[in-house]
């Protein structure tokens, strides 16, 4: 009896393996760049490091609630917002894995979740580099980390300055989530401010100043930014101009990550897109925004309405300086776009 049952089990498993071939999504995990600076940010500034974990929970928590409870369950979203605020006050000791926060969403949009995780890894490595006094040449170390990140080109976000293009004009779902759930959307945008502000604080020249600035950032974040969140998605270089000038490609990578978070929110919150179609629409947008495809992708022009509620700084375009360096989109010293409608998303070599 045992033998018959076990043979059946093995046979069924093999059949299932073959049938799984029809819908294969491979995991394709890659480990982060090994380096002596890894985890220095966590070790030196644990409160600042742990302050990110609620953001991680918020992003993936939103996806899971929208998938499991549907796009219109306001009560579930309010409950999630309360839980996020609890984690802001009392963050987990370690970063919770996305697949625990959003186990069902991970099955729908695995590639996008993996790209987000891969980019969070770059986030943390750049925090580590800026936190580690043993790393004297921050620029070289940062560019090595970015080069390694980009080598996983289908999970790396584009280095081009797409600004707000895809989240405002990528599809009919645009801005759906922000209109439906302004409270929790505000929390997410506040966290985008927080991520960039931490970079700027870490660019202080010594650890005492860094610690002081980080305390200030966390205080401003909880007392002010979270209480009165931004009304548009802040760009990294707007909030962190020194960081943006040092690593313009990284500033754009993080803006594109944040934009992808918004795009996923909108797709998940749009009841016109069926549950089964959400995954493919998210995949379609990911393909538009990854590094592997950036040479042929043309970002959609912003709708005219976007100009009304966005500050001037957010409208700047990537700008090349006389010495060849670039300032990323959103940088206060970057140029404003040409006035033709939509032109501000395109290359501006002609303006140099």
């Amino acid at each position: 009896m045992w033998r018959f049952s076990l043979g059946t089990v093995v046979g069924v498993m093999c059949c299932a393996a073959v049938s799984a071939q029809a819908q294969i999504v491979q995991r394709n995990g890659q480990y982060r760049l090994p380096a002596s600076y890894n985890f220095v940010f966590y070790q030196e500034y644990p409160n600042a490091a742990r302050s990110f974990y609620a953001a991680h929970f918020a992003h993936f928590g939103v996806y899971e609630v929208l998938l499991q409870r549907g796009p219109n369950d306001s009560a579930a979203m309010r409950a999630l917002a309360r839980q996020i605020r609890e984690y802001v006050a009392n963050p987990p000791k370690f970063e919770p894995p996305a697949e625990i926060i959003a186990p069902n969403w991970a099955k729908v949009a695995y590639r996008t979740g993996a790209a987000m995780d891969w980019t969070h890894m770059l986030h943390s490595q750049l925090y580590d580099i800026l936190s580690d006094d043993r790393v004297l040449d921050k620029k070289t170390a940062g560019e090595r980390a970015i080069a390694y990140y980009l080598s996983n080109a289908h999970s790396a976000f584009s280095t081009r300055g797409y600004g707000h293009a895809f989240m405002l004009a990528g599809g009919t779902w645009a801005e759906r989530f922000a209109r439906k759930y302004p409270e929790i959307n505000g929390i997410l945008w506040a966290y985008h401010w927080h991520h960039a502000a931490v970079y700027e604080a870490l660019l202080e020249p010594d650890s005492t100043l860094r610690r002081r600035q980080l305390d200030r950032v966390i205080r401003v974040f909880t007392d002010s930014v979270l209480a009165d969140p931004p009304t548009y998605m802040p760009l990294t270089a707007e909030v962190a101009p020194r960081f943006g000038a040092l690593f313009p490609a990284a500033a754009h990578i993080f803006d594109n990550l944040h934009m992808m978070h918004d795009v996923v929110n909108d797709i998940m919150a749009d009841e016109r897109i069926s549950r089964s179609a959400k995954g493919s629409e998210i995949d379609r947008m990911l393909r538009q925004m990854v590094y592997a495809n950036q040479e042929w992708v043309i970002a959609p022009p912003l709708p005219a309405s976007a100009h009304a509620h966005m500050p001037m700084a957010a409208m700047t375009v990537p700008t090349q300086l006389a010495d060849g360096r670039w300032l990323p989109q959103g940088h206060p010293d970057a140029s404003m776009p040409a006035m033709e409608h939509g032109d501000h998303q395109r290359p501006h070599e002609e303006r140099r």
């Binding site: 076990l6 498993m13 393996a17 819908q23 995990g29 890659q30 380096a35 080069a147 980009l150």
Partner: protein, 285 residues
């Protein structure tokens, strides 16, 4: 405790086990670069359950593991088994590992010990779990004779198909396979196991359990284990397992037994083995 598929010899003491434990302790100090324990849920055979999940290490991710099981059984039988393992993601979705399995047992005052076997494995993950399809992996393990009184005599081979399917946060792991072994090592047997893991909150704790069977092809009695345990992430890079285990088939024959299992693992990367491309000065406009 019965050390399966191993010819018992007399005269050995715990020395070998202690030496191997020392090697394990030395390994705990081995870290080229410590990185995040990114998949603290990863279920690994022997820590603290026998069932394996379908997910391999990431490409270029290294991990060492130390697992131990201490068992007492009716009639004064005592024993300890362990696993020392080093594994690495050698390609995307492909894991390679080497293991040593120390063992010690005392029955009726006579002790025997040594390394039951050395083994090496490849685990290939076919796919990430989808909305309907489970994650599927195949593992092949080559077993070689160890050292001392408890060593296996001949080379063996184990072929395993693994599925992982989640129901919200609960993950189920189904293992099925076949092991080839010479008669002196106990003969061939079928393998089947069903395990689970379930995270507790967001705070890097989980509970795990399994039911695991080995059914000899020579129609002798099946070996059946039941195990349950917990897993705790103790640092950004380390995970601790604690569990209890029992041989249900021996209980069924009136021989009470219970074991305690603990395990420790740590992940790391090796900088010299990672190729970093030159900065591509990527387009930003």
């Amino acid at each position: 405790m019965e050390i399966t598929n191993v010819r018992m010899r007399k005269g050995a003491e715990m020395t070998m086990l202690l030496r191997l434990t020392a090697v394990g302790v030395m390994l705990t100090g081995f870290q080229v670069s410590v990185l995040a324990q990114e998949d603290f849920r990863s279920v690994d055979a022997g820590r603290p359950i026998r069932v394996e999940d379908a997910y391999p290490l990431k490409f270029l991710e290294w991990e060492w593991e130390l697992g131990s099981e201490f068992l007492v059984a009716e009639g004064g039988r005592r024993g300890a088994t362990g696993v020392l393992e080093l594994k690495v993601g050698i390609a995307r979705n492909l894991q390679f590992g080497v293991e040593a399995h120390p063992a010690w047992e005392r029955v009726a005052g006579a002790a025997s010990g040594g390394v039951e076997e050395f083994s090496t494995h490849l685990l290939f993950n076919v796919n990430q779990e989808g909305r309907s399809a489970p994650a599927v992996a195949f593992r092949t393990t080559l077993l070689a004779p160890g050292i001392g009184d408890v060593r296996r005599e001949d080379v063996g081979l184990e072929l395993l198909a693994i599925q992982t399917k989640s129901l919200s946060r609960l993950r189920l792991h189904l293992n099925g396979g076949y092991a080839i072994a010479s008669d002196i090592d106990g003969g061939a047997y079928w393998i089947s196991g069903l395990g689970f893991d379930f995270p507790i909150g967001l705070f890097s704790k989980s509970i795990l359990g399994d039911l695991y069977l080995e059914v000899p092809t020579d129609r002798s009695d099946a070996r059946v284990w039941f195990e349950v345990g917990t897993r705790l992430q103790i640092t950004n890079v380390s995970v601790l397992d604690l569990g209890v285990t029992a041989r249900l088939d021996e209980w069924g024959r009136g021989a009470a037994n219970i074991g305690v299992v603990f395990g420790l693992s740590r992940v790391f990367g090796v900088p010299g083995l990672v190729k970093i491309p030159a900065y591509p000065n990527p387009r930003v406009n």
